[in-house]
Symmetry: C2
């Protein structure tokens, strides 16, 4: 890679890619130009650091690329917006094989086939360890962005996706258990598949009142909704039970509710609805007056989710 | 910082900041929402890695913050667009003092007072070394973005800013010369001050045909214009001569033209004009038919500028 040089490498990993229609000017100038048809755009950014957010012995570069796009696209969709474009900065050691970078980029574009958008630009720099920074843009499609701060007492809390599966996969890998025994859990950790359509296919008049990506853990992310909406949320543990997860938790002697309630990186979606819960969403609780998140009416003790600094992570 | 936690630290460095009018929703939800009044936005991103793009013994955190914003804002302005917002991801060791992060953020906001916009969101993660990723957005204000690919033979090449000064400052620091002897050069390296107004105050009918930020070195960046416009550019060395730089080059036994022609990180602007060169711009050469960039009609030998990978950096 040191010999190929930054510009040649960027040319190599961007060549032959098809830009999304909203990318009015792609890579090659001082900046890209992106369409914002309704006069606004949604933006989110995440940084992934080697050995902190991914491990090269646990994930292929293709998986890492997919995950980097998925977690950012999920934040865009978590506003009710459609992913329109991404920019990606990559820091990597000068001895990184070109094939590695190519596989990383291929993984990103593979997830983009699910999420929509395209990689409209980026930066590539030398770094002692692999660092990936993704910024994602979304088009609100003329609708009001769906915030965290607008849940109301009486709303139903629902989830799309499978909370706990990424944490289960991480537990399998961490315990040194053969990944082949629990391929579904390991895959959920390596390559989360956010259920974008559950949000993006909602009709414009769906009774959704608040929405968030579930990335820090269900309790933590619902805690963000509860706090910013100044409401309480009570979850029904029987609705959260996931029998498919129990063989994994039994094998690892773990409590599956720890994974379901506090596991990070699921990139599921949690929402509140003031009316009928739409297809693709499972009701899991109620919004109440008050504050804090409870399970079956009681506070949950122990860790409440992933936090990048501090003991939670 | 490990004890304060990510959310508390983000709250600390964002509290009391005033968001730009174009930031419709700032930090605190899954994503921010930014206005794009003319239905498009410009976007650019850069990653800065400790000991590669900055050194903690040569630059204060405030300077590093300023520079991180300046280089991204310069890319936005290098499209003819006005900076409207930024998102910033920060990777840093868990023992980083909170005051350091605060000073970094203060430096960013100080440069934002020059460039416009505000920090609308970001991410903060643990990393073995300091990594700063900035993504900047711009409003084209209803004008066509000014590209690199639209210079035409007969145009005048002009520059706004002071090419070579950042490289001179870097040379002073690298040689271990007392920075107090050449404060202007050292300041130019530590805190580039892109002449945003030279671009943003151009009248809508200014005869500007192509534009770029000068960050890789004058020859390299004009090379990008020449290549993408399929033209040649010839520079006039007498117009490039900068007498104020000569005491520095004499003291360091260096050729000031090396700095002026190939020094990176000036964050000056280079443009081509099909008519009178506006105030704030100095003519330095001509656009010709052909290819490549020459000085006084001859190719310049030696390195042509900064490249992130390879031997140039």
């Amino acid at each position: 890679m040191a010999e190929l040089g930054e510009f040649a490498l960027i040319a190599k990993v961007t060549s032959g890619r098809t830009q999304a229609p909203g990318v009015l000017l792609g890579p090659g100038d001082d900046a890209a130009v992106i369409a914002a048809p309704d006069g606004r755009f949604v933006v989110t950014t995440d940084m992934l650091v080697q050995d902190r957010h991914f491990r090269l012995d646990w994930s292929s570069p293709h998986d890492i690329g997919r995950k980097a796009i998925a977690q950012n696209a999920a934040d865009v969709v978590g506003m009710g917006a459609t992913p329109s474009a991404f920019v990606v900065s990559l820091g990597c050691p000068s001895d990184t094989p070109v094939d590695f970078v190519q596989a990383l980029a291929d993984g990103m574009w593979a997830e983009i086939e699910r999420s929509g958008g395209s990689i409209a630009g980026g930066d590539m720099v030398r770094s002692p360890l692999l660092v990936i920074s993704v910024t994602a843009f979304g088009d609100p499609r003329g609708r009001a962005p769906v915030l965290r701060s607008t849940a109301r007492p009486g709303d139903v809390v629902a989830v799309a996706g499978r909370p706990g599966w990424s944490a289960a996969g991480l537990a399998v890998l961490s315990a040194g258990v053969d990944p082949e025994r629990f391929p579904e859990a390991v895959a959920a950790h390596r390559v989360p598949r956010p259920p974008y359509a559950a949000v993006l296919d909602l009709p414009a008049d769906a009774p959704i009142t608040a929405l968030t990506d579930v990335s820090d853990g269900l309790l933590a992310d619902l805690g963000h909704i509860a706090e910013s909406s100044a409401v309480a949320i009570d979850l029904d543990s029987s609705a959260l039970r996931d029998r498919a997860l129990e063989p994994v938790s039994t094998a690892l002697n773990a409590d599956p509710f720890d994974w379901i309630l506090t596991g990070g990186e699921d990139h599921a979606f949690a929402a509140t609805f003031s009316g009928a819960v739409p297809a693709g969403w499972a009701p899991i609780g109620r919004v109440l007056s008050g504050s804090a998140v409870t399970v079956d009416g009681a506070p949950r003790s122990g860790p409440t989710g992933w936090e990048s600094f501090g003991s939670g992570g």
